[in-house]
């Protein structure tokens, strides 16, 4: 049961104002692609430690000072002159579709919209000095193979004679 502090459980479900804005159109899609580094690699570094009194202010939601929203939008608008089908956008979209295992169409289709709205980690996919995403070939798996078993006593498998911790 989710912990609640108010008798009517109203604090269990976050108010609608604290629901993440969904990706519904190319504008929000551009911001998503910009935020996670598909348009320009993100400099992802921890901010300097702040004083505790700053922590106390943490509850104040500072909408208009969010660097990612402002910078992304302004930067993008200046580079694409406000139209959302710029080559940058299409290229970024294609790359996102490719790494997400979607059909690479370069179009902001439904499948892409669903993928963008999935719960995900906030770390960018493309950080400034990690410009390429990590792809590893499965052939390296062979490194782990040992010679096949040729003895007479078969290995006891799927049997946990010794209790495991999990």
């Amino acid at each position: 049961e989710k912990i609640f502090h108010r008798r009517d459980h109203s604090d269990v479900v976050p108010p609608s104002s604290r629901q993440a804005t969904l990706i519904t159109d190319t504008d929000t899609a551009e911001q998503f692609l910009f935020k996670y580094g598909f348009i320009k690699a993100v400099k992802w570094e921890e901010p300097p430690a702040q004083s505790t009194d700053m922590l106390l202010d943490a509850d104040t939601v500072l909408e208009d000072t969010d660097p990612f929203v402002q910078e992304g939008a302004s930067l993008f608008r200046s580079s694409s002159g406000g139209t959302s089908q710029s080559p940058d956008f299409i290229q970024a979209l294609r790359e996102f579709q490719q790494v997400s295992g979607l059909a690479v169409t370069g179009l902001f289709d439904d499948a892409t919209k669903v993928a963008m709205n999935k719960p995900r980690c906030g770390v960018p996919d493309k950080e400034e000095d990690l410009v390429e995403t990590t792809e590893a070939s499965s052939t390296a798996q062979d490194l782990n193979e040992t010679s096949t078993y040729n003895g007479t006593t078969p290995e006891l498998y799927n049997h946990t004679p010794k209790p495991a911790t999990r």
Binding site: I3, H5, D11, P14, S17, R18, Q19, A20, T21, L22, W44, E45, E46, A49, Q50, M54, L55, A58, D59, V61, P67, V99, S100, G101, A115, N117, K118, P119, R120, C121, G122, V123, D125, D129, L130, E132, T133, T134, E135, A136, S137, S138, Q141, N144, T146, Y149, N150, G151, T152, T153, P154, E155, L156, Y157, T160, P161, K162, A164, T165, R166
Partner: protein
Amino acid sequence: RKRHLVELVRKSRQKREAGEWGHMAFSKSVLRWRLIGEGYSSQLSVDDQRYIFRLAFRMWSEVSPLEFVEDLHSPLEEIDIRLGFGTGRHLGCAQRFDGAGREFAHAWFLGDIHFDDDEHFTAPNTGNGISLLKVAVHEIGHVLGLPHIYRAGSIMQPSYLPQDAGFELNWLDRKAIQNLYGGCKGRFSTVFDWIRKEKTQYGEVVVRFNTYFMRDGWYWLYENRNNRTRYGDPVSVPVGWHGIPAAGVDAYVHVWTRKTDAAYFFRGTQYWRYDSESDQVFSRDADGQRYPRLISEGFPGVPSPVDTAYYDRRDAHIYFFRGSMVYRFDVRANRLAAGSPKKMTELFPAVAAGDHPVAKLDAAYFSYTHNALFLLKGTSYWRVVGSRERRLKAWLPYNGLLPRREVDQQWFDICDVHVSSLK
């Protein structure tokens, strides 16, 4: 293409940090973590949160040389990894959370991990919501230096996949973290295949085995078919081996003949006989012998303590190793074989000159998986020449030792965890 991951990571690490191991992220192997007081979640009890994070850190420790310890007391600047929950603008972080849905957490390289408390985080195996364990393992991967990995099955995929029962770090994630911190190396107290007789549903008796690696007071079951240890290992010895010394053993010997089937554990000057059926040591066996017994009583002429020992079914002798000497014990005659002890270099000659353990072996292990005898010392092993090889190459000496190899190139991911997580 095959070395892509290695190249990728090495190139970027060189720019940031180059520790003694080349492209290592943290430069120490024991990392302290803490769930910070002002960052508790409002959804789970604090104990649940700490338990889940302890498990998440342990999962990375089971596949890498890193160890993690929860530290509730040191000054905050001495804590390597700080975790906390928050909503919207949180914990002095530059990146604001977006509320319920989409971004559920983020982490900073060599730094902190923040969870969006507007998300519906749940404990493992609850089947709904977002598994806090899965997210924690992912974010810890970032803190340790891993980027997003788009491979199916990798815990480092950026998007959350609903929790299937009991996820584990797959082979790719293991190699990725070992590329940063190296493989798991270490000495073993003993290695053995534990043989059991079972009855099938048709009443047939079948003989099966499991492979065990022991190091001091803990052990791993090694799944040969999967080339890795059992998920969740190591486990402390008393948990799985009832009645043998908790600090571990020097040797395990399984005397297996047409008339005898006896398993013994040796430690110091004593030895125990293990009852494989009831999975505990005999206090008194069918012959009326009480255990533990002195080695000098049960195996006259054999000194103690021994470094290791194994039973050779080819000549029905037990080979006890101590220092640079080998004591062959004739089980049937219950005495040392004529000419014992001999030098290890004499009984097990090196095939490649100079490539020999010479003395102080850690383990002598006959593997049913490989049908071969291995001598282990430190992080290396020497395989003994088998009869088939000698048929092909008659010049190979009997019981010759083939050139050494590294244990962690043959048996993978046998990794320590911090002693605090063994409790």
